[in-house]
């Protein structure tokens, strides 16, 4: 049985910047791996460490945000490469959900399919959340997928999440493999009906 995501509580790390691409989330050289294990350590590697491996100023290196489980981002997060290594690195670094203004298509799908909810807030609510967290890193934030709202510091902000993804996450259906397999012989019908690709001669 898959985990059902309903209410996710925790502190948040504010990560400013628009159109943060998956190359930045995890640089290509860390994709030379056969499993996703251990990818958490390479999250935002080139932004967090210099060429000698010394930490640079970055919210993820900031002691005030250690142990946070929510990632706060701006618009166009996860653009670029389809690498699932990106949401895997975020999840394996201990994050339970991402709150932002908008997400790139493939990133969103990848994240949802591994049980990492990505929810969006209206720009003014997101701005307020960024400010609140930056002012008080210990602030508790609640992402409520059932009530469709994000709550923080006495404020209630409506969250948006495509209904299919919300259903999948709250019902524990986010990994679709089981349901896809249920199609059974229907698949063989499609395989017979769709004539591609033909064998090379």
């Amino acid at each position: 049985m898959l985990e059902k995501f309903t209410v996710i509580r925790g502190r948040a790390v504010p990560l400013r910047g628009e159109d943060i691409d998956t190359d930045r989330i995890i640089p290509a050289r860390f994709m030379k791996v056969l499993t996703f294990e251990g990818l958490g350590q390479y999250l935002f590697y080139d932004e967090r460490f210099d060429e000698k491996g010394n930490p640079k100023p970055h919210p993820l290196n900031d002691p005030r945000y250690q142990g946070a489980s929510l990632l706060l981002v701006e618009a166009g997060f996860g653009s670029g490469s389809s690498r699932e290594h990106a949401p895997q690195a975020i999840k394996r670094a201990g994050f339970k959900a991402i709150i932002g203004e908008s997400f790139a298509e493939i990133f969103f799908g990848n994240a949802t399919a591994i049980g990492l909810p990505c929810v969006t807030l209206a720009p003014e609510d997101l701005r307020a959340l960024f400010q609140a967290v930056e002012a008080d890193p210990s602030l508790e934030v609640e992402v409520d997928l059932l009530a469709k709202e994000v709550r923080f510091g006495g404020r209630v902000a409506p969250l948006a999440l495509p209904e299919a993804a919300r259903e999948a996450l709250t019902q524990g259906l986010w990994d679709p493999i089981g349901e896809l397999l249920e199609a059974g012989s229907l698949l063989d019908e499609f395989d017979r009906k769709l004539p591609y690709p033909r064998r090379s001669e």
């Binding site: 159109d19 691409d21 653009s79 670029g80 699932e84 209904e163 993804a165 698949l187 591609y196």
Partner: protein, 470 residues
């Protein structure tokens, strides 16, 4: 009411609705490479599942292969282990694998069309965002993550959500020295890197209809850079002429039947679109990027923008881009010195790209101090280029002629920028650190513009360097 190609293909492949409200979509053709598939095979093993229809899956190795010395074992043991894993996985599951030296190895998005695997009306998936390339044939083709690679291997289907469709018309005639790469950079510059979120892009209009298949592939390839997961062009006679006689194309009596079927997928004249945008071909200049995403682009005779010229919400990213690229606001983009020139990638490493560059490059020399590389898209492209004397033109000009692979585009092999080197590149992404150095800089442009930059030693207008149309 008519329908778009996207809608027709979707309807023909929708197996059923899922409880979440998504659709279960059948995938005709699944392409694999070594970077995003090993974990998928691992998950399959953990679940005790088999590859359901191995005849619908084809694999090659492209991201990690060295382009210089391909003797095995590779110097990089991690790269070698990824190649071995793909060999083992495809063998175990009965999947066709185009290995190094097979004559068909190459960038996955180059070999699919080249072999005739990519056909109109298909759904095509691959664990790589530039799968959108195959849309040039009137296929619905898109990149997927590794968990979805597992889903396709196990069931030949995906859980998917239908997109809206934006029709993008490019009307008129492109000027000499202007290519599909300029068209797509121009489109992304105007619609933005987030402009395509939630959309499939359908490209049409007289300029697109006049394009050959390889140009259409370049156009569709970078749809993802505009935020659209897929891009496509309706199949027409140009499409059929390209496919005729290719190894996996239908033959004999099946050929006519296939064409009839393919034609039926094209969008109807009265198909409704969620949005329509029109560009004038004559207004599209050779275009280059100045920033850290493909939307941060200007005409070659333009200037890096002043912050105050930009909408307020774009300024923080522009500031970050200028600092990273080491450029001054208002500076002409032409004349910025380059250290590296790269012609290659799934965007622009096809035979027609290399032919077009060679046509103008002949008799010119790469400027001293510039490291210039050509990486053909496939073993077949490399072979043809040797036969046609194209490779020799590049070598004589001072380019290194390499073996096929993704190479510097994302630098998972030994080809990478050093320090803050600036590369003129025919690839698709100019993200920070993209070409393998955390401080390396990329300026995207057409292959001919890369050649011009290599010759001039700085970002240059190919029309001036090679005397085109002026």
């Amino acid at each position: 009411m008519g329908k778009t190609l996207y809608e027709k293909v979707w309807e023909a492949h929708e197996v059923r609705k899922l409880r979440s409200g998504q659709s279960q979509l059948f995938i005709d053709l699944h392409l694999l490479h070594e970077v995003t598939s090993p974990q998928a095979f691992g998950m399959l093993r953990d679940l005790g599942l088999k590859v359901r229809y191995p005849h619908r899956t084809f694999a090659t190795v492209d991201h990690i292969v060295p382009t210089h010395d391909r003797t095995e074992p590779f110097q990089d043991p991690l790269a070698q282990s990824m190649l071995e894993a793909l060999r083992q996985n495809t063998k175990e599951h009965g999947i066709t694998f185009f290995d190094l030296g097979s004559g068909n190895q190459g960038i996955v998005h180059v070999i699919g069309p080249q072999l005739g695997l990519t056909q109109p009306g298909m759904t095509i998936a691959c664990g790589d965002s530039h799968t959108s390339t195959h849309g040039a044939f009137g296929a619905v083709a898109f990149g997927i993550g590794t968990s979805q690679v597992r889903d396709v291997l196990a069931t030949q289907t995906l859980a998917a959500q239908k997109l809206k469709v934006r029709r993008i018309n490019v009307e008129g005639k492109l000027s000499p020295g202007v290519y599909a790469k300029d068209v797509i950079l121009h489109i992304i510059r105007h619609l933005g890197v987030k402009g395509g979120l939630g959309y499939a892009y359908e490209y049409g209009g007289s300029a697109v209809e006049a394009m050959d298949m390889e140009s259409r592939m370049t156009l569709c390839n970078m749809s993802i850079e505009g935020g659209a997961r897929i891009g496509y062009v309706n199949p027409d006679e140009t499409t059929f002429a390209y496919l005729e006689g290719r190894p996996f194309s239908p033959k004999g009596a099946e050929w006519e039947e296939a064409k009839r079927r393919w034609r039926s997928f094209a969008s109807d004249p009265d198909a409704p679109y969620d949005d329509v945008v029109t560009f004038r071909a004559e207004e599209i200049p050779p275009t280059v990027t100045w920033g850290i995403n493909p939307g941060q682009a200007v005409p070659i005779d333009g200037r890096v923008p002043l912050l105050e010229e930009l909408p307020e919400e774009e300024r923080p990213l522009a500031e970050e881009a200028l600092a990273y690229m080491g450029l001054r606001p208002g500076q002409p983009i032409k004349g910025v010195p380059i250290q590296v020139a790269f012609i290659g990638s799934c965007t622009n490493a096809r035979l027609s790209d290399l032919r077009e560059v060679a046509r103008f490059l002949k008799g010119h020399k790469v400027k001293k101090g510039v490291r210039a590389l050509v990486v053909p898209g496939s073993e077949w492209v490399a072979k043809k280029a040797e036969e046609e004397g194209i490779a020799e033109v590049f070598r004589e000009a001072g380019f290194e002629w390499r073996n096929p692979g993704c190479s510097m585009c994302l630098a998972m092999n030994p080809d990478r920028l050093q320090g803050d080197e600036l590369a003129a590149s025919s690839s698709n992404r100019n993200y920070k650190g993209r070409m393998g150095s955390p401080r390396g800089r990329t300026v995207l442009m057409s292959p001919l513009m890369v050649a011009a930059a290599a010759v001039a030693g700085e970002i240059a207008d190919a029309r001036e360097v090679f005397g085109i149309g002026r």
